[in-house]
Amino acid sequence: MLTILDNFTKRVHGFFQGHVYRNYLLFGAAVMMIPLMHNFGIIGSGTLGIWAYIVIITVVALGLNILLGFSGLISLGTAGFVGAGALGTGVFLNMGLPFELAALLTILIAAAIGALIGFFSLRVEGIYLAIATLFVGEILRQIYTQIEIFGGQMINIGAIRFLGFFTLNANPPSERRFLFVIIVAVMVLMMIAMHHLVHSKTGRALLAMSRSQAAAQAMGVSILSYRLIAFVTATVFATVGGVLYAVYIQNAPTTAWTLDLSLFVIAMVVVGGFKSIYGTFLGAFIIHGIPNLILAELFGDVSYIFSGVLIIVVILFYPYGAIQVFYDVRKWFHKGRLKLTTKRSDRSA
């Protein structure tokens, strides 16, 4: 009996220690199942949109985690870039560009602005950087609402034509589910890219820069280059999130990109887990999902009070983020495995 259990735990362990892609792909596949759950009547019809938002905002928060978790930098301008992604895609699509080109142009323009902020960030630290980025976000928001090409209230995007041959419209449920699968696929790709990034020379240099600037410099890490890289990457992630918003929602409001959103994204990183990729998703789920999916049904309008309390509790007990819960579980699991193995060797001795 013990041997069977031991074998089982070993296999489970081996499976998850395996190839890095596998875990992300499995995770993505699991999230893609959510629309099916609707077919089986497990989740309500309005909830797919909430899940889609969680997926989209996870991509945004991953970028912020590169800034906050790895590089020790802050941005309060995140919302501005999510808006840039959504509105930029809308503007270019309305100009008649194909979707892929529209998305690419939007991302490139936003990345350039991100680089500018990175360059600027060399001159300001801490709270000053926070305030500076706050105003970058504000300026972007003003631009969206004041300048005509953004259509005043919103840009209607409508059905999106992918790769020039298949078109998906957000209205019919069947097509919406397919759109959901697409945005989850992009999220998984972004997760894998981030995984590679943080385990590379670049990731190490970002950490070195934030943990010990002196050591980083002595080892040849240029603070300018890596601040630029940090801001450009974070901006690109936020903008990709905005593009996904345009893809899924198919219209881009001009007024939605406020400081609240930027702060919520920060909360997702803090609550979910600094430096943790799955933790970022978990953070997005806790901050956006729990109040809207679970608490709203139970408590109605006051659900945000409960989610607020929940978030404070998480921060109190898991200062390194809720993902720590899973690490603890894994630790117990390992301990259990160890016990099993020692028991067995006791017996055989």
Partner: protein
């Protein structure tokens, strides 16, 4: 006589009104182990910061006959000093606590990575091969320092003696011509200090490198150094063999105070 590897020429460094280093000159020759001593606040760390270009606004010149020939270090950016074959440790161990020991060593090889951000995002073959090659090098160094069994552990939570070793290991990643160590024995117990002594000799042997170190542990300095430079209040006192430095009246006075 051989040409010096490192040459300090009338270095002065002022903080506000305080002359932390005052008209200091000395040289280090290839293959030497040189100690820089002086009472607390004598300006030793400041000298290191000038040499490694953390401070740029010092007076005087520092020349280094490194991997790329003789250069005036002032013309080299702080982040490019390592390319010359000059690398340092810090008085307050400067490591990345939330990275594994292996990854901390790889930071020491930062400049040897030729792959780019794009390679990293897509984890291209180039990036993977480079990572494997330099990890191999790091493992060799860790094995040499006998801490290879710890390679995958976080730096955070390691005992002080291990931290000091990791910092030294990280310097070795860059194939340095000159390693400068700021108080390598501080905080070590007697056994660890003896071990460090042996280690520094081994490093000089194996990596054909020169070592300049600051240390307060006089036993250690006297045992290990070929020559010792003593300073006090930023000023040069004497530079000589350990035995002669111990007998030097100026040095004794700086450490013990003047007899009235």
């Amino acid at each position: 006589m051989k040409t010096p590897l490192l040459e300090l020429n009338q270095i002065s460094m002022t903080f506000g009104g305080l002359k932390a280093v005052n008209d200091l000159s000395f040289s280090v020759f290839p293959g030497e182990i040189v100690g820089l001593i002086g009472p607390n606040g004598a300006g030793k760390t400041t000298v290191f910061n000038c040499v490694t270009q953390f401070y740029k606004d010092y007076e005087g010149d520092v020349f280094f006959d490194g991997l790329k020939g003789k250069v005036d270090l002032r013309t080299i950016k702080v982040t490019d000093v390592i390319d010359q074959g000059l690398v340092r440790t810090f008085q307050n161990v400067e490591l990345i606590p939330d990275l594994s020991i292996m990854n901390n060593l790889l930071i020491g090889a930062h400049k040897q990575f030729k792959s780019r951000l794009i390679d990293h995002l897509f984890n291209t073959k180039k990036a993977r091969q480079e990572e494997a090659r330099l990890s191999e090098k790091a493992l060799e160094i860790l094995t040499f320092l006998k801490i290879d069994h710890l390679k995958d552990f976080y730096v955070k939570g390691q005992p002080y003696g291990i931290l000091k070793k990791i910092e030294i290991a990280r310097t070795l990643m860059s194939d340095p011509k000159l390693i400068i160590l700021d108080e390598p024995a501080a905080g070590l117990n007697d056994r660890e200090t003896d071990e460090l002594e042996a280690l520094i000799y081994q490093i000089r042997e194996k990596y054909q490198t020169t070592i300049l170190l600051i240390e307060h542990d006089m036993g250690f300095v006297m045992n290990i150094c070929d020559r010792v430079c003593a300073i006090s209040f930023g000023k040069f006192l004497a530079m000589d063999t350990p035995a002669k430095i111990q007998k030097n009246a100026l040095v004794q006075e700086a450490y013990l105070g003047k007899d009235d």
